[in-house]
């Protein structure tokens, strides 16, 4: 067996205790399946001892491994019946299996690296022209879009002639007059709409409604009528003001 000292490489070149163990195992020059674990333990412990004598600084995991191997060695040497669980044979087998696996991957890595690799052994074109995807726009536009656009341009740019549209309206005075007269005839609560002129629609109907409402507010302010509404957006009711004695007292 070669002396462990023949492995003169510094610890920095080992990737941990398992790596060192594998290197030592390979010095036994046998298949990893037939390796003597006891001899390997001896090799490792001797190597660590040698390093200590040289006052090399050892990383903790190398020392942990040394301690574990020392334990394994003593267990392997114990009489059979005194063996603890798990058996030292099993521990030794585990170690052997781990070394085999590491070795297998190390060899696989080397074989992988030795393959014909692109850029080292085989080459692809330096500057391929490339395949082009040409996007061809299909424009979506309808005749309506076209004439609408034209209409907008003309509407936007033609000299604008301002014409004040004559809109049919009910004036506020008219509404006050009308509501004031009609509410006198109404004894009970009557909806606002009942005070509107009939037969109107469109802008005139809207104007009449708005003016009549404002007229009602004005008449209520004058104390000529009362307004009641159950809630927001509920119908608005009007009736002629009934003078109440209590109200008079407060004033």
């Amino acid at each position: 067996m070669p002396r462990p000292e023949t492995l003169t490489v510094s610890f920095e070149s080992w990737e941990g205790p398992l790596d060192l163990l594998l290197a030592l195992a390979r010095t036994q020059k046998v298949d990893l399946r037939e390796i003597s674990i006891l001899a390997l333990v001896e090799q490792y412990l001797a190597y660590i001892e040698g390093a200590r004598k040289l006052k090399l600084e050892l990383a903790a995991d190398y020392l942990v491994m040394a301690a574990w191997l020392a334990y394994l060695k003593s267990a392997l040497l114990l009489p059979r019946e005194a063996q603890p669980e798990p058996s030292p044979e099993e521990l030794a087998l585990r170690l052997q299996l781990r070394l085999q696996r590491l070795q297998a991957m190390r060899e696989a890595g080397a074989r992988l690296m030795a393959r014909d690799r692109i850029g080292r052994d085989v080459f692809v074109r330096e500057k391929p022209e490339g395949l082009r995807l040409v996007r061809k726009a299909k424009w979506a536009a309808s005749l309506f879009d076209l004439i609408q656009s034209y209409g907008q341009i003309r509407a936007r740019t033609q000299p604008v002639v301002h014409m004040v549209a004559v809109r049919p309206v009910m004036t506020l005075d008219e509404a006050i007059q009308r509501v004031g007269t009609l509410v006198g005839a109404a004894i009970d609560w009557t909806a606002l709409e009942a005070f509107l002129p009939t037969g109107q629609d469109g802008p005139m109907a809207r104007s009449a409604l708005a003016s009549s409402f404002v007229a009602a507010l004005e008449l209520a302010r004058q104390g000529r009528l009362e307004i009641q509404q159950e809630g927001i957006f509920e119908p608005i009711f009007l009736r002629a003001a009934v003078p109440e004695p209590s109200a008079g007292r407060l004033l």
């Binding site: 080459f123 022209e129 061809k136 726009a137």
Partner: protein
């Protein structure tokens, strides 16, 4: 087919990976002098004639290129439907109603400058074409619509375009404020429906 020898294979591979066409001298730097380069190039060139890739010589330099008749395959076209921008739509409408018009005239009608890309888009779409020059100072280019324009918009001639009176009748010439009022009323109705 004859078994290619290593010299020929080397020439083939060097031409394949090269970034640019190679002269005989440059080729020799790689493949050496072990063979008759001009004859090998001729053999290779024969071999590739009629294939998808051809070996060609241009001005004393050799390179591989794809066969010219396959160009359409290497550029794959994909249709994408896109909406014409408002500027493009308006420009197209002005050309259609007023053709032939110069760019300056289009701008005068639109009241906005016409970006350079706008006319390009319309020409790329195949709807607008340059139609000569206006014989005025500066001889500006004038534009007109194409037959493709008519067929795309389903018109048999430009006379089919609705006239100003038709546009007015359709409400398309409504002054903007009234149009807005209409929109406002509409949106109120919609809101009411949502609340209900």
């Amino acid at each position: 087919m004859e078994e290619p020898d290593d010299f020929l294979r080397a020439v083939e591979a060097v031409l394949f990976v090269s970034e640019q066409p190679l002269t005989l001298t440059e080729l020799k730097l790689h493949v050496g002098e072990a063979g008759d380069l001009p004859s090998v190039l001729a053999t290779l060139s024969d071999h590739y004639a009629g294939r998808g890739i051809n070996l060609v010589e241009r001005g004393g330099r050799w390179h591989f290129e794809t066969a010219a008749d396959l160009a359409h395959i290497l550029r794959r076209e994909k249709d994408e439907t896109r909406k014409l921008s408002r500027a493009a739509m308006e420009t197209l409408a002005i050309i259609a109603y007023h053709e032939p018009v110069s760019r300056a005239e289009i701008e005068a009608i639109r009241g906005v400058q016409v970006a350079k890309g706008t006319l390009d888009v319309l020409m790329e779409a195949g709807w607008v074409r340059p139609a000569g020059r206006r014989e005025v100072p500066g001889r500006p280019l004038i534009y007109a619509t194409t037959l493709e324009f008519l067929s795309h918009f389903g018109l048999s001639s430009r006379r089919d375009l609705p006239g100003i009176d038709d546009l007015r009748a359709a409400g398309l010439l409504d002054p903007v404020d009234l149009a807005l009022e209409g929109l406002g009323a509409q949106s109120v109705v919609e809101n009411d429906e949502e609340e209900a």
